[in-house]
């Protein structure tokens, strides 16, 4: 509890004790009134002061004013206990609200506690010195010991360790890192000591950017939040006028039309009850809190949402458009199948890898990678590059030619044509066809499951846009189960493609574009909502997108949509619940059925329930 809260608690206890004591005393009339004024002022002096100040500053219709009028009214009607009790309960409610909000604020901040407190810098004699990460310059060497957070982005220059990236990506599987690897801040070093040369300042490091983004996210207000602000703006004055009407009109009607004695006391009391019920705080607090908790929960699972408004849009998404390369596929070429002719697969691969070993072409690199062994350059001689066609080399004395179909034709080798999607490498040994190797961009392991999960989550349309050839696109789209694809697009075509899809959307349906953020920034910003993936350490993606997936797992898209939907559901629950209960209580209060105690529940109880409901948005593990 803070000092302020403690003070409020002490005041409440004193006031309750005094009221109990005075109720037991056999006093009447003015003395009783004077005695009750003591606990009333103890508990309510600040409310009264604020109410007076509010009137002087022309801010008449605030809560303090409502409470002051309600309690003074009750006291004026001779109901001293009720007047003081209402004030006490109001203060208890305020205390609880302040405590609950403070606590959830702390809970959420703790959850996102990835801010490193210090960096270890090596002194002249090799001893470690803890410094503020802000003070570490680019290019300095920092030391991260096991159990510590990596404070600044950099490159490992010495050491080997396992990193826990779960705070950044939500991925619990640890990641291996060794000298030469880039390392992003926010990871936790688990096993070995690492020496890191920083490549960025602390303020520009991943961890700072993420924190900055998440903290500022709730500043971009959603439509629901704006609605509530507006609602509160009109609501309080309307309720006040209603209360005034309730106090004055029924008695006047009794006098003028029914010709019976008016019960002024009863109607004024009902009007006061009405005022107490009306406080809009439950709504005003629970909506931003729900968004804050939802964004916090999302960032915990590696989904960074840049604003509450994007949560809303994401929840309404009905069409997801993907970029192909790097998003649905791995974006790297790899050997996907080997078709040998008269020799083993390994042998064919060995020949191809050796012959291509002098080239740095992506095709050659993927062959080396599939081969996986060190190349013995002594076995290779007479390498001859045949431009646009392939290479010819002597390996172990045999003449090996590796290249495309044109090379085979040129050499006059009769080859078996391979009609599969991807790049085909043909191999001939001593002028005889030895087989072919298919190299293609592989879909990500989770891509098909991700599309399925999206469909299950009710996404109507999944579309793939790619600059790749049509047969490649068709193959991938079929394999992953996408509903539409557009191939052979230039970057500008992607924008117009998204625009076309946007125009086909219904009014309440939103379109999300998922890309890797590197060269699709215009599309990311044109779509209703731009999602960039694989953002660990990529500033461009973080800048361009509305939602950032820290790792490059497409499964996270469905998860992000589910998180957003849960959050929005809670927001609406709170809106309906709070307004509903208030309206019911207002009616009951006007009819004289709900007394002051029910009014207090409608004010404080609803607020507490709404706050507790809002906190639910934080748990996203099982979505």
């Amino acid at each position: 509890m803070t000092k302020k809260q403690k003070k409020a608690l002490i005041r409440i206890i004193i006031a309750v004790a005094l009221v109990g004591l005075i109720s037991l005393l056999p006093v009447k009339g003015y003395i009783r009134f004077a005695l009750f004024m003591v606990p009333y002022l103890v508990i309510g002096y600040d409310i009264l002061r604020k109410a007076v100040k509010g009137i002087m500053n022309r801010q008449v219709f605030d809560e303090n004013f409502l409470m002051a009028v309600a309690t003074i009214g009750a006291i004026a009607l001779g109901d001293y206990t009720e007047g003081v009790a209402v004030m006490i309960f109001y203060q208890i409610g305020e205390l609880f609200q302040s405590y609950a909000v403070g606590k959830s604020r702390r809970n959420i901040s703790e959850l996102m506690d990835i801010r490193p407190d210090y960096a270890n810098v090596e002194g002249e004699n090799g001893e470690l010195e803890q410094v503020d990460p802000d003070e570490v310059e680019i290019g300095k060497v920092i030391v991260v010991q096991p159990g510590e957070k990596v404070p600044i982005d950099g490159v490992i220059i010495e050491g080997k360790s396992t990193l826990n990236t779960s705070a950044l990506t939500g991925e619990s599987l640890p990641r291996e890192a060794e000298a030469g690897d880039e390392i992003v801040s926010g990871c936790i070093n688990m096993t070995g000591v690492l020496r890191i040369r920083t490549t960025k300042e602390f303020g520009e490091s991943t961890v700072s950017k993420i924190l900055d983004m998440v903290e500022n996210a709730s500043s971009r207000k959603s439509r629901s939040e704006n609605f509530i602000s507006k609602f509160a703006h009109y609501y309080t004055p309307i309720v006040c006028y209603c209360a005034a009407a309730l106090a004055v009109l029924p008695p006047l009607v009794s006098i003028l039309f029914l010709h019976i004695a008016p019960d002024w006391g009863e109607w004024i009391f009902r009007a006061l009850t009405f005022l107490v019920i009306s406080c809009p705080c439950a709504l005003v607090i629970s909506i931003p809190l729900s968004f804050f908790a939802g964004i916090g929960g999302a960032s915990r699972s590696g989904v960074l949402v840049k604003g509450s408004n994007y949560m809303e849009t994401l929840a309404q998404t009905s069409c997801v458009v993907f970029d192909k390369t790097g998003t649905l596929t791995q974006g790297v070429f790899a050997v996907s199948s080997i078709y040998p002719e008269g020799m083993s697969e390994d042998q064919l691969l060995e020949y191809a890898a050796l012959a291509e070993s002098y080239s740095s072409h992506p095709i050659s690199r993927s062959l080396q990678k599939a081969y996986g062994k060190a190349i013995d350059k002594n076995r290779i001689a007479d390498v001859e590059e045949i431009s646009g066609n392939g290479v010819k080399a002597a390996i172990d004395g045999k003449e090996v030619s590796v290249g495309n179909d044109k090379l085979m034709k040129k050499l006059g080798v009769s080859y078996k044509e391979l009609n599969e999607v991807g790049t085909v490498v043909y191999v001939a040994v001593d002028q005889t066809f030895a087989g072919s190797i298919l190299i293609s961009d592989q879909p990500k392991p989770t891509a098909a499951a991700a599309i399925k999960a999206l469909k299950k989550a009710g996404i109507r349309k999944t579309v793939m846009l790619t600059g790749d050839r049509k047969n490649v696109a068709e193959h991938v789209a079929k394999e992953l189960g996408l509903s539409e694809y557009y191939a052979e697009l230039l970057p500008a075509d992607k924008v117009s493609g998204v625009e076309k899809l946007l125009s086909e959307q219904g009014k309440k349906e939103k379109l999300a574009f998922v890309g890797d953020g590197i060269n699709d920034a215009p599309v990311l910003s044109r779509a209703d909502i731009g999602i960039a993936m694989g953002a660990m350490g990529s500033d461009a993606a973080i800048e361009a997108a509305d939602i950032v997936l820290m790792d490059d797992d497409p499964m996270k898209i469905a998860k992000a949509i589910k998180i957003a939907r849960k959050c929005i559901r809670i927001v609406y629950e709170n809106i309906y619940f709070a307004i509903g209960i208030k309206v019911i209580c207002l009616i009951l209060g006007a009819l004289g059925i709900a007394n002051m105690w029910a009014a207090i529940f409608a004010d404080v109880g609803v607020m507490v329930i709404a706050v507790l409901n809002a906190i639910r948005a934080l748990s996203v593990k099982r979505l």
Partner: protein, 72 residues
Amino acid sequence: MKKTYKIEVDCANCANKMEEAAKATDGVKDAVVNFMTLKMSVEFEEGSEPKAVMQDVLKNCKKVEDDCEIFL
């Protein structure tokens, strides 16, 4: 120019009122109060002096909600 200030305020509705008050202050182009993180970010008009403007912002906020604080 945009600057962020730490604030203290007790209720969400009061935070909204502070935002309105800050927005209405001369020299402020836009202001957003974030009740959850207790921060106010203010975008200043071209050529205005943030320090002087913030004094006015504080004064206006105090008018609508006596019990608030902006840490300048």
